[in-house]
Symmetry: C2
Subunit: 240 residues, 2 copies
Amino acid sequence: MAKRKLETCFSPALFEPATHSDSIIVVLDVLRASSAIVTAFANGAAEIIPVGEAEVAREYKNRGYLVAAERDGFVLDFADFGNSPFNFTKEKVEGKTIVYSTTNGTGIIGLASAGFMTAIGSFLNLTALSEWLIKSDRDVLLFCAGWKNKFNLEDTVCAGAIAQRLIESTLYSSICDSTWAAMDLWSLARPDINSYIEKAAQRTRLRDKNLDDCITFCLTSDFTKSIPVMKNGLLVENML
Amino acid sequence: MAKRKLETCFSPALFEPATHSDSIIVVLDVLRASSAIVTAFANGAAEIIPVGEAEVAREYKNRGYLVAAERDGFVLDFADFGNSPFNFTKEKVEGKTIVYSTTNGTGIIGLASAGFMTAIGSFLNLTALSEWLIKSDRDVLLFCAGWKNKFNLEDTVCAGAIAQRLIESTLYSSICDSTWAAMDLWSLARPDINSYIEKAAQRTRLRDKNLDDCITFCLTSDFTKSIPVMKNGLLVENML
C-alpha cells in the first residue's frame, strides 16, 4: 500500500497551495494563536470566527460579538481580550462564538483553506491530533505560521513532534527535508522543551512585553483532546 | 562592543534584500553549484561569469567561452560540461574564464547582489571562509539556495557549520531562529555528515540521475582556502 505523504512548510512565504489541495493542513502557531484556539475549544467555545483585518473584528464587536484581537502581542483597544490562552477561560468562552484576529495566526488559516481540510495544531492537543491524522486517509501538510514570514523554532519543533508520530505509525512517508529537520530539532528539544525554546526569538519578544506567562503552558503536551477544524469559514470542534 | 549580526535565510523565497544591504552574503548551494565554483577557483580558474538564462549561456558559448550549464542536474547540449565539481579540473579551468549557469545557484547569486558583498560558501572552504568572515567587520547573512524555493538539509547544515564558527568567535550574535536551527542540525550531522545527508531529497535526486559520485567530496571540509567573491558582476578569487 502506498504511504500517505507528509510535508512541512516553515513559512507562509513558502506555501504552495496547488500541491496541497487534497491534504489536511495543520496550522501551527504555538506562541500563541493555535494554543489559544485549542484552549478555547477545550474550555467549551462553540465556534471561532477567524478574521484577518482588525477593522472587520471591530465591526463584529460593534454587533455584540465576543472579540479576541491583538497585533504584535498587544490587545486592540476595542477587543475583549488578546492572544494569551489564559484569556480563553471556561467562564468567558463556554458556549460562545468568538471572533479572533491575530498578527500571524488568522492570516495563515486563510491560506490553509486551499487544502482539503484545515485543523489547528499545538502541543496542547498533540496526541489527539496525531491520532486523528493517522486515522484519516489523507496526506498531511504541517504548516508553521512562523513570524512575519520568518522560520521559527517553536512551530517547527511542534511540527517535528507531530511528524514523528505520523512517521512512526508507518502509514506516512516524507521526501521533504523540512519534515526531517523538524523531527531532528524535536529530538533535541524533547528532553527539556522549555529550556530549548529559551533561544527562540518569540520567547524573547514575549518576555520583553511581559507576555511570557503562558509559554510553559503552550509547550505542555496533551492538555486536551480538542481538535479545532474549519467548517464553512468557522472554526469548530472536530466531530469526525 | 556591539556584536555583529548573523542571520540565516533558508530559501530565496524568504530573502529580504533591504535588511542585508550592509552584510556579506554567503551563498550556499552545497549540492552542487557552490561546491563546483569553489573547486574551480581551487583549481586556478581566473573568473566565473554567473548567468541565469540558459540562452545567455548559449550566446557566450557561440562567442568562444568555456561554458558550464545544467538544468535539473543535466548538462545542456551546447555546454562544455555541467555542475559536478569533478568537471572543474585544473586541466580544464586553470587560467580560464568560465560562464556558469545552473538551476538554482546562479539565480541566488543575482539576489545576493543586494548585499555589501557576495561570497561563495561550501564545506570545501569552510575554515578559510569562516576565518575571513570573522576578520571582516561586517554583519553576515548565510543564504541557503535550497531547491526550487524549498528548504534543504545540505545547505542548512553547511550554514550551521559556518554559524558555529562565527558564534564561537564571540564577535557575532544572532537573534535569528534559522541560525540556531542550522547550528543544531549541524550538531547532529557533524559526527557523520555523509550518513546524515542520506535522508536529504537532493541526495535521492542525484542518485536517481547517477550524479551522486561527487557528494562525499562536496561534504568534505577544507579542501581549499579559496574564497570566491563577486566583483563587478564576475566571481573572482578573494584578494582581501
